[in-house]
Amino acid sequence: MTDTTLTPPAIGTTTRAPRIGESAPRPDGIPKVQGRFAYSSDLWAEGMLWGHTLRAPHAAARITSLDIGPALRIPGVQAVLTADDVPGRRTYGLEIHDQPVFASDVIRYQGEPVACVAADHPETARRAAEAIVVAYEPLTPLTDAEAAIEAPAIHPDGNVVRHLVIRHGDPTVTGDVVVEGTYEVGMQDQAPLGTEAGMAVPTEDGGVELYIATQWLHVDQAQVAASLDLPPDKVRLQLAGVGGAFGAREDVSLQIHLALLALHTGRPVKMVYDRAESFFGHVHRHPATMWYRHHATADGTLVNVEARLVFDGGAYASSSPAVIGNAACFAVGPYFTPNALIDGWAMRTNNPPCGAMRGFGAVQTCFAHEAQMDKLAAALGMDPVELRLRNALKTGDTLPTGQVITGTAPVAEVIQAVVDVPDAVSPVLEGKPMALPGGAGRTADPEAVRRGSGFAVGFKNIAFSEGFDDFSTARVRLDRGVATVTTACAEVGQGFVTIAQQFTREVLGVDEVVLAPADTTIGSAGSTSASRQTWMSGGAVKAAAEAVRERMLALVAADHGVDPGVLRVEGDRIVSADGTVDLPVTTALGDRVVEETVEYHHAPTYPLDEHGQGDAHLSFAFVAHRAVVDVDPELGLCRLVDLVTSQDVGKVLNPLQLLGQLEGGAAQGVGLALMEEILVTDGTVRNASFTDYLIPTALDLPDLRVGELVEQPEPDAPFGAKGVGEPPTISSTPAVVAAVRAATGLDLPRTPVRPSDIALANRSAPSSPEAP
């Protein structure tokens, strides 16, 4: 991979600090490598208590009795709270308030909270939760999303969370060539390394301060305040260090419980989920079953795409409406078709709740539409790359939602970029046993290992869609040449902290940019999701910095008796067109302080109508991957040998950080292709640990290469940049699975590909262990 050795960071030297397009180092990098960065699990307060949650063991049950007495009698226990202790709204939810803070009558998924405890030691809290006596009457769980459409409702809101039909053109059109298939995606976990954690501290005014790892402070604040029956200004949230998110922190987990315990005990309360609880404490990626039928002319032009998408949202709504919205809108992939009929269902079941995860909706459908495109290419006898190039979307094309793409759409360019990257793979047997499928000593017969390569293209929307008033707020204060930037944007590892500094330096010409803590004393930044913060909070910072710049120039103009219009910031100086004014930004204002706060909204989007038609999205980012995989056909083990990403990024803002996003996103897609799945049987999770839920290690991955980045500035985006976080996770999975198909000749309609899908594929009967 590219050698990215840098000169040491410029901080504290006279070197100019990095601006747009330069690899600015993270301001939090130094404390993070030293272990000094305070994550939400690192918090400590004098006299603090530890919280613990009691969770239901059943996927579906009725609570017949609940006795907290035995827990309260344990020395050291300060509080045991149940649904009866919730003073305000007893339910919460990101879009729909359908999830109980504590279950009081019905259990709808395994792990649903029933009570929480505060005690003076975490082990005491854990034992106290165990001592609570709950009697359950188990019910038969509803675990089939398809069956849920007709099944009796398991929730007062019904089982259909959202049904969305996109009808475009004439969906009865048939093609010369028709291919059909049904595809499945398993349930993936975000598995951020930091589990859910936080601390709540009661305040003198009867409110609470919550130090929390989240993706969106203000949406948490609204939900916590509603359940506490407090005005929002008495529920103050501050972002604590976030150990990764990937969608897992978009929903409330322990926020309300923590605040209740702190208010009830009058003491600070800390709670940290262990890894097993984390699997039950956050939503997952929706498993999906997707039927597709593609129609094309004999020369490979798409004429119609039909799809039926059934997404299992589990017990509660979470972000299911947006997930199925994305899935349906992007179901065809980055291809033009004049006709389409997409039937999308987000269903409620007694399976674990599912919601946001990197690339949501688009990840699932990309797996299906790319398998279909390969199938169509085979049926046409056409090169799969050629087929995709022939149908690639471009600016001015109409999506199946009727929306015309007005921004950039370099689909052919990302395809060509990934194809153009030279091969860099070594032969199958390169003399390194560790590099064989399964690692050293695991391959049945090294001579039997087969190699395949695959290719995929995907896209999704940037920022929030379907009419949501999406905005972010930023304050920039310039004081003696130092800019202080305040937003409520959640830095979860993605690197907004460098973007905020780079944007501010670029606009104001200052080097030193201080980032104030993110909290709810400023307006909302919206969520760190949907690849939106570079555009939205970046846009807010840019606009606030520009407002500060205009005031600064006006003051300097008055000082020098010139028209403000003749002044501009050039590098780190304020200069006039005629050269009579030329002074450093850092000293231009003396001790005068300029501060501006701006709320930045993106261009409006619109709801989809009853036929799924409407200008629902702001902008789109496109991506392509090419993968090479070695497969041991006898044991069904796969090893990724090469994976190349090419992406439409609009403009490269920070090359090093961009690389990290593309590599990390691709790695998560590899996980979904080859190893990651939450196994659920009858609504019960079988692998809630890092021993049994595997994410890629350094040995599971090759150098994840990045091909040419396509830079076509997006007209409305700040500095032309599109968000980059989600796209690399979208087409990586189908590219890797396509490579496994090429190596094995199998259909493999399901991801992740399990060893048994390969090793047992050619057996006529289901396997059973043979007697020795």
Binding site: P9, V33, Q34, G35, L659, I695
Partner: protein
Amino acid sequence: MTAPETYDLTVNGTSHHVPGAWIGESLLYVLRERLGLPGAKNACEQGECGSCSVLVDGRLVCSCLVLAASAVGSEITTVESLATDGALSDVQQAFVDAGAVQCGFCTPGLVMAVEDLLRRDSTPTELEVREAISGNLCRCTGYGRVIDAVRVAVRRRTGAEVA
């Protein structure tokens, strides 16, 4: 819970008195919650992720799997000891420079694993680097910049390239 225990632990060359601890507490818990050393992280507490890596008598261990009371008499080294007088170690500096830090939760454990590797082998191959850090899970980076950080550290320390 059993009666509280009192013992002393030697961490980063300093003896720490641990009064009134539950005997079941892990070394990770005692470092983080009793000694004010939160650098070792708690990502799985099952020995799978390496985020809690420390050295006990020079050996790299998952501190979540070590009972604190069993480390009495041992020399414990944590990530907090690596920077001297505010200057990062060469491995820490390489992680910053190479872009190996994103959310950073796995970073202290990875830094400890790489320090341990380079003490044993100052010029590892890429496969050896991958093997050495394969017990450290990272969810953000895909490991590319982490491997690059090791390249940078090896180059600066020895002038050699990781093959």
